[in-house]
Each structure stands twice: as C-alpha cells, then as structure tokens.
C-alpha cells in the first residue's frame, strides 16, 4: 500500500482558550477524493491551514508524502496546492499576471508548471478576461483563477476549502470534471463544501468534522444511492449541542466530553 499523501495523527489546535481541533486523525491516500463537511466554525479551515503548513499544530503528528513534517518545507509545498476560501489573488494584477507570478516563482525553484491558460480554459474562464485586473472579476471568476493557479502546479496533494463557492452550475460541473482528472492522475484531494450532493457525486469518502472532532465518516462502496443515504445520515446524525453550562469549561478544562466553546 502506498504511503498516504498526507496524514494527521492526534492533531490538536487551540487558540487561547478556544479548542479548535481535538485529537484529529485523517489520512489522504493518492488517487482519492475526500470530502470534508462540518458546520460553520467546526474547524475545517484550521485543518486545511495545518495541512498546508500555514499553522503548526499544538499537538499530534503531521506527515506529508511519507515523511514527518514538523515544518512544511519548500519541497513539500512544491508538491501540494491549497485553494483557500478567499481567492488570495492580487487585485491590482490581471489574471494572467497573477498566474504568471506564481508560475515564475515555481520555475525559479526549479519546478515545472502547466500553462495556466490551458487550465483556465478547462475551468471555463473566457480568454478575453485574462488581461483584466482581478479586482474587476466576479467572485466566481476569481475563484476559477485561484483554482487554475493550484491546478497548474499538478500537485500530488490538493487542498480545496469550499471550492464550489460562487461557481455557477457550469463552473461546478467543469471543476468536478477537472477533479476527476486529478484523481485519475493520482492526486490526493481534500475538499470541503456545504453541498452534500456535489460531494456525494465526487468523493470516495466523506468525513464529518464536528466541534473540532473528526470521528465519523461515510465511504463510497460502489453504490452511489447507499453512499448518498449514509452521507445524509452522517450530516443529520450530528450530535446536538447539549445544554451549555457556561462554567463547565472553566471548571473542567481537561474534560474531553465538555462542549467546547464554539470554534
């Protein structure tokens, strides 16, 4: 069995008194797409930040491409791509200039990159828009440019935080097709979304992150209808918030069963 592209073992993260992730275990195997669902504030973005090397976990182990990654060095970052919830594009530069900057930065590091125009066409961005400043783009168009920047790197690990946001139906279909291609290429993909139907169509496994805890999942066993039912049950069967005693977290800070502060 090949090593997972990414693995988290017992990862925990807190910001001050707020516990955002608790004892998270996750493996992302090459050639698979894993969907991550969770309510707002469940800790999804924090999880992505840890995998992308933007945050050092407070506890636990992070492994990337078969090696322990106490720090995510440039070699590991060369093999992964992260598309955050924000598009992270320079508004004063055109789409082409934004893509060229990151492509040139990769080439300066001795890495190859696909022609960005080719990826943008796959994602349905019209060619005449490439020369316009990104600040003039709609959210959906900017999202496509951000996705193209990630895909042009042909990453082995692709991290997508709500990539379907602001994409129209055509854009979603194009992105789904592109991600299918990434899976066939052998990339490991982790994407989060509130669109359970899109995840069921695309993913091999869906995991639920609830109040920083990732311990329930549904796997696709070939029967899409059954997978859809299990995914729906996964979402609907989330533990309801118990009545909150505001003093409980202060009196019992080490209680793992304590309802943590809203993340």
């Amino acid at each position: 069995m090949s090593e997972p592209a990414a693995a988290l073992h017992g990862v925990a993260q807190r910001f001050g008194r707020k516990v955002v992730l608790r004892d998270v275990d996750l493996e992302l195997a090459p050639g698979t797409i894993v969907g991550l669902i969770g309510a707002n504030g469940a800790g999804k973005t924090t999880l992505f930040a840890i995998l992308a090397g933007l945050l050092q976990p407070d506890a636990g182990e992070r492994r990337l491409f078969g090696r322990a990654a106490d720090e995510v060095d440039a070699d590991a970052r060369a093999r992964l791509a992260y598309v955050a919830h924000q598009t992270q594009l320079y508004g004063g530069l055109s789409a082409r200039e934004n893509l060229a900057l990151f492509a040139d930065l990769r080439r300066a590091a001795g890495l190859t990159t696909r022609p960005a125009d080719e990826v943008l066409l796959q994602l349905g961005l019209p060619a005449e828009a490439l020369a316009r400043p990104v600040s003039t783009f709609s959210r959906g168009m900017a999202q496509r440019v951000a996705l193209a920047r990630a895909l042009a790197a042909s990453p082995e690990l692709l991290l997508l935080d709500e990539p379907f946001t602001a994409l129209d139906a055509g854009g979603r279909a194009q992105l789904a097709s592109v991600l299918e291609g990434e899976r066939r290429r052998g990339a490991a993909v982790l994407l989060s979304s509130h669109d359970l139907d899109a995840l069921v169509e695309l993913c091999d496994r869906i995991v639920l992150l609830e109040r920083g805890v990732l311990d329930r999942s549904a796997a696709h066993d070939g029967d899409r209808a059954a997978f859809r039912r299990r995914a729906a049950a996964l979402w609907q069967g989330r533990p309801q918030d118990p009545p909150r005693d505001p003093l409980h977290p202060l009196l019992h800070p080490q209680d793992p069963a304590a309802p943590g502060p809203a993340a």
Partner: protein, 256 residues
C-alpha cells in the same frame, strides 16, 4: 540563487502594482511635504543655532512616521486579499518574501528622503551641510532607513497574518526602532557639525544594520507561521500505529 530570483520576482510584482496607482509613493510623499510645511511654520523662526539641534530629530521623526505608514500599506495589500498566505503555502523561499517587502519599503523611504532632505535644507540654513556632503548624506539616509526597515518588515509581516492588528504595529514598532533611530539621529548631528568621527558613526550604523537584518532573517519564518518543535503528543498519537493503518475505526453509518 533561488532566494534572490524569487525575491526579484516578488519585488517586480510589487513595483508593477505600485506603478499602476502610485499609492505608496504618493502617500509617503504628501505626508512628508505636510510635515515639512508644519516644521517650517513651527521652527523656522528659531535662532539658527537651534536649527542644528532640531534637524536630526525632525528628519528621523518623519522617517519613523512615514515608515510605519508605508509598512502598514505594503502589508495591507496582502491582508486585504490574504495573498501572503498564498505565498506561504507556495514553494516560495519565505525569506524571499521578507527581502522583497523590505526592498519595496526601503525604496519608498528613500524617495521620501529625496524630498525630505532638500526640504530641510530649504527650511533650515544649517541644513546646507547636507549639500556639502551629498555622499555621506545619502549613505546616512540609506543606513538609517535600512535599519528601520529591517525591524519594521519583520513585525509588520507577523502582524499581517492576523486581522485588525495595525494598531499593534504602532505600539510594537516605535520602541523597537528607537535604537536605530537614535543612532541615526546622533550620526546626523555629527554630519551637520562636521564631526571628523562621522565615518566611524556610519560604520557602526552599517554594522547595526547587518545585525538587524541577520536577526530578522533568522526570525522571519517563525514570526509568520510559528515555531516547529517538540510538542505534546495527544492520546491517539501516543498509541503505536503501524503505517498505512486507518488511524480511527471509521464505521459506516447504517442506512436508514
């Protein structure tokens, strides 16, 4: 070489954005002119011997204010679009980010000095010493601004990854840059006085700048993303787990 190439690419991107709207240069330039006008109105009537004492303080006070203004705007561009995190997640040498930002800030401050120093000379006749020693004046401005930028860029970058931290930059930056500014102030007075020890002062400023840049380079990545190191293992990580085994027993939800 990768570091220099990537720093050059990032700096080129900064300059390209700046040449489209001149936001940094216009802000710094106008602020400098306004301060010069206020200095003229406030101090021009002082006796000439008081000018010698006032010029160094006014010069480096202006640099301090323009510097924090420039650093705030340089990193506000990154904060508004969260592009700094895109650079941190990319295979970019993180020092290249520091070098590019520091170079951009230094360039703006030098442009500010190109307005400030002649302006001080016009306002205060004692400032003629700047014209009499243009090489020393340019070197003084460069070394003083470089030391300021070395510290300022480090902390501005660290605060840029959080929201609403501009006020902290003002609080943190002024105490930390005081030694550099004081050194620059004393050296400026030495230049105006025609002190024969001026080369020694300039050499000490250069040495200070080297130390500050080296320290900033060592600290930059830690300031941005935090330190890696031995950390507490959580309960499941302490359990021995062979590689390849699914770490948690993920059971399927029964179909309704």
């Amino acid at each position: 070489m990768r570091l220099l190439r990537q720093a050059a690419l990032l700096l080129r991107s900064e300059l390209r954005q700046e040449l489209r709207d001149f936001e940094l240069v216009l802000t710094a330039g106008f602020f400098t002119v306004v301060l010069l006008a206020m200095f003229y109105l406030s101090f021009a009537s002082l006796q000439q011997r008081a000018h010698l004492g006032a010029i160094p303080g006014l010069m480096w006070l202006t640099i301090a204010f323009v510097g924090v203004l420039t650093l705030t705007r340089v990193f506000d561009r990154e904060r508004e679009a969260d592009t700094l995190r895109a650079l941190l997640a990319a295979p970019v040498d993180r020092l290249a980010i520091y070098v590019a930002k520091a170079a951009m800030t230094l360039a703006v401050l030098m442009i500010c000095c190109a307005v400030l120093v002649p302006g001080l000379w016009l306002i205060f006749p004692a400032g003629a010493a700047f014209a009499a020693a243009p090489g020393s004046t340019a070197l003084l401005a460069l070394l003083g601004c470089a030391g300021y930028v070395a510290i300022g860029t480090l902390f501005a970058a660290g605060l840029a990854t959080g929201a609403g931290k501009n006020t902290l930059l003002f609080v943190i930056l002024y105490p930390l840059t005081t030694p550099v500014l004081m050194y620059a102030l004393v050296t400026t007075r030495a230049l105006l006085d025609g002190d024969p020890a001026l080369p020694s002062y300039l050499g000490q400023m250069a040495a200070l700048d080297v130390i500050l840049f080296a320290a900033a380079c060592l600290l930059f990545e830690t300031v941005l993303v935090g330190a890696a190191g031995p950390r507490r293992s959580s309960s499941s990580a302490r359990r021995a787990r062979p590689s390849g085994q699914v770490p948690r027993d993920m059971s399927r939800e029964p179909a309704p």
